[in-house]
Symmetry: C2
Subunit: 221 residues, 2 copies
DNA sequence: GTTAAATAGATAAATATTTATCAATAAAAG
DNA sequence: CTTTTATTGATAAATATTTATCTATTTAAC
């Protein structure tokens, strides 16, 4: 007889596609309750509205721990909570943003982050004209202060919205100072030591999918 | 004996993960040649620099039709061209942008798009203060003119950077006027008729992956 | 020349992810 | 109260994607 591993050690690894779909349900359900009070909703209904398969929705929700009732469906509020808890969006995480160009400014002004438990508390830039000013209500500090501030405030997430050229160096600086996760919007792959998380955000990747699909579409007939 | 399908009808469908990786190679290779003139590069080298597996790189490049030589590797310039051709980035596609808030403005100012064969030729907004002005050098027109302009210019790609609320309506308007592909940055899933492409860009999805991985990292030990 | 090394290309195996099927359950209809 | 229906939850199958193995080829070193 084989001894099963103790439950604590079985770290169930969640497929990335599932993780990426959860926020879609989350946004959808939040909109649902906002538009009109709905207590229950079924996977069938969700899948029709989001144009996917009911089985997939069921599988995905199962992972969050949400439980439904036959013939009725899931309690909307419970699913929202389940997704929040599962993703760790129930309590706020503070982050620093580095680079206040077009994209950086847009990210600073994005109101949606607070729904996802993310709070950008300050921005950093190297340009003297920007340092000391405020952008979208957030203080802009000199990148020279970045390491010290990361340490002092115990910041764990860094959002990198700098140009390609200085991106790697800025990432090194952040990691050195104790950042554990970098959300990278710079159009280069950055290297980090083992144990540090990098989430690469690449517009070009999405555009590639779009371009190819459009090309195929226009080519057929 | 089974008759194989004629070659023209065998539309080889490309896995989305592959499509998403191609721009990463593309950016990497462009940077390589920019930094110093390199004629050949091997999969091994690429995989080391990008921290992936050589086999994957080889498989991915194979799809673009690039050919390498044993012991030497691929001609850098040829791979770049192969990716461009494969994704249809070799000739420019014109696009309209709808919504000139923080994100819309950032997209208007993004210089990288021209490398990917995308040219945002005009922007549309409903706010009277913005109409008639220029943002990042691009004219802002009234959304009322959107359908007419799409038809007149034969625009095929619409970039939707509006708030969630009007997103669906704007999408409808675009499709009605002849748009074939929508790059959607609004934080809602939008529905379109069969045959129209929607590429959903969801920051929350990426953040979900980051959040979960960070939570797991901080939880261990 | 001959041999060794590095690499692409082809084929096969392994793994991850999606989709389908079936059984159990609770609500609603008759 | 019984039957029907819609639904979840569990299990299984199918498909997609990644990773490994093997072979052939080309270059460079000896």
């Amino acid at each position: 007889m084989v001894n099963p591993r103790p439950a604590e050690l079985v770290v169930k690894v969640i497929p990335e596609p599932v993780l990426r779909r959860l926020p879609v349900y989350y946004q959808y359900l939040k909109k649902i309750v906002q538009d009109r009070p709905v207590e229950y909703i079924s996977c069938t209904r969700i899948s029709e509205d989001l144009n996917t398969l009911a089985i997939q929705v069921r599988k995905d929700l199962e992972i969050t721990g949400a439980e439904g009732r036959p013939k009725v469906g899931y309690k909307v509020a419970e699913v929202i909570k389940a997704i929040e808890n599962f993703l760790g969006w129930n309590n706020t995480t503070e982050a620093y943003l580095v680079g206040t160009g077009n994209l950086g400014s847009a990210l600073l002004g994005y109101q949606g982050f607070k729904d996802y438990g993310l709070n950008i508390v300050a921005a950093f830039d190297s340009s003297p004209e920007k340092i000391g000013k405020e952008i979208r209500g957030k203080k802009v500090l000199s990148v020279k202060k970045l390491p010290e501030m990361i340490k002092r405030m115990g910041i764990k997430i860094g959002i990198l919205a700098a140009p390609a050229a200085p991106a790697q160096e800025l990432a090194n600086m952040m990691v050195e100072a104790g950042i554990k996760a970098i959300w990278n919007f710079a159009p280069v792959k950055i290297s980090v030591p083992e144990g540090i998380i990098v989430q690469h955000e690449n517009l070009a990747s999405s555009l590639a999918v779009l371009s190819k699909r459009l090309a195929l579409l226009l080519a057929e007939r």
